[in-house]
């Protein structure tokens, strides 16, 4: 009998030893909630301790009361743990919402900004097209024999529109002129008259006068050469901009009319720093007339011809306003040669 009991005990011990002791469900709850609800868990454990003492002394009612208290605190601990978890989740969602709202606001702002930029770019491009068109009208008019000028372009609305575009551009340039040395009453008066009478020839004359004044003021005030401004000016008058190691300027061809060269001369005059390089084959009638027009517009300013490749291209460059010359105080008198371009001592 004793042997059988011992064998049964061994079997039970063997079974029990192979598995973990059964987990107390209440203790499991308290363990799980101990981080989030330490106060409630402590209360529950104290009640459990008191229940155990009551059981030991045989007070069943007290033990049952303390067990009820322990369960109530365990429920409270679980609820607090859940509350803390849901609060953290609500905070996380609120933060996510805020982040998402901020991202949306940034996206909208960027979109609006892009729309504004696009509109501004479109307006600038439209203004430039308008000016180039107006200048073409002025050049065509200028190219007519003197007596035919005023009747060469029959559409008065077209002429008035061109005159307004040129005058508007001249007014914008006048702002730049006056920012470099105060008001210029003569130019103001000249432009003021254009408000009364729209005339292409007078508008163009005023525009050239403002360009000349701008050049003089830039020269007098020692304004730093600004390549961007030079490029913008060339583009605004419809010239094809070219960048080379010798400088930045405009590309012309053998058929460029003298009136166009004269206009380029006006532009060059408003960028007064350094010499003017003319690169290419400048022999032949049309190029020579072009060179004469440039000389007329530039007055005493040095023009240096450089022999270039034997093709139709003719370049008019400003070394001081080129990518390499922007920061030079004084433009180099010996600009670097480029393939196919050689300095020549005289025309």
């Amino acid at each position: 009998m004793k042997v059988r009991a011992a064998a049964l005990a061994l079997v039970l011990v063997g079974c029990g030893g192979a598995t973990a002791p059964a987990l107390d469900p209440l203790e499991g709850i308290l363990e799980a909630a101990s981080t989030s609800a330490p106060s409630e868990v402590a209360q529950a454990r104290e009640a459990r301790g008191r229940a155990e003492l009551a059981r030991r002394r045989g007070d069943a009612l007290a033990a049952a009361d303390e067990d009820a208290i322990a369960r109530a605190w365990a429920d409270a601990a679980l609820t607090r743990a859940e509350l803390e978890r849901e609060r953290a989740e609500a905070d996380r969602l609120a933060a996510e919402r805020t982040t998402s709202e901020l991202a949306e606001a940034r996206r909208l702002a960027a979109e609006q900004s892009a729309q504004v930029r696009t509109a501004a770019d479109a307006a600038r491009a439209a203004t430039r097209v308008e000016l180039v068109r107006a200048l073409q009208v002025a050049e065509a008019d200028e190219a007519q024999p003197r007596r035919a000028r005023r009747v060469s372009l029959a559409d008065p609305r077209e002429r008035a529109r061109a005159a307004r575009a040129i005058a508007e551009h001249a007014r914008l340039l006048l702002v730049a002129v006056e920012s470099l040395g105060g008001p210029d009453e003569t130019l103001r008066e000249q432009l003021g008259q254009l408000e009364v009478e729209s005339d292409v020839e007078r508008a163009d004359a005023a525009y050239r006068a403002v360009r000349r004044a701008l050049g003089m003021r830039r020269a007098a005030s020692g304004v730093e050469p600004a390549r961007a401004s030079w490029v913008e000016a060339l583009e605004s008058e419809g010239f094809e901009v070219v960048d080379s190691t010798l400088g930045t300027g405009a590309m012309l061809d053998a058929n460029t009319p003298a009136s166009r060269c004269s206009r380029l001369g006006g532009l060059l005059a408003s960028y007064p720093i350094g010499e003017v390089l003319v690169v290419g084959a400048w022999s032949g009638r049309a190029p020579s007339r072009c060179l004469s027009a440039l000389r007329l517009a530039l007055g005493e300013r040095a023009i240096r011809p450089i022999a270039g490749p034997e093709d139709a291209r003719r370049l008019v460059l400003l070394p001081a306003y080129g990518a390499a010359g922007v920061h030079d105080d004084e433009p180099s008198s010996h600009p670097p040669s480029v393939a196919g371009a050689e300095p020549v001592t005289s025309e």
Binding site: A47, D65, D75, T79, R80, E82, R87, A90
Partner: protein, 105 residues
Amino acid sequence: MIRAPWVSAGFALGLVVAAAGVHADPPARLEWVRHAESLGAARSEAEVPRVEQLRRALDALREAEHSGDAARAERMARLIRALAVHLELQRELDTLRAQGQEGTR
């Protein structure tokens, strides 16, 4: 008038709390009882069992006080406190969930 079943339980709790509060002995116990009283009637069906348990604990407290069983009165007061804390936390959780549902709408 249609009245939810838990309202009567809450009403009964209020009466019992008021009666038990008069006889509360230590200041802490009086405070716990008043706290339970401030929780009022059950606000939902889910709260009814907890409010009922509170009512029974308050009954037991009153009986213990009448019979001079100070030890049981003290235990009942601690039980009332634990139940009240749990009820309060549960209400806080319900409010948070209601706000969450409101926010997602």
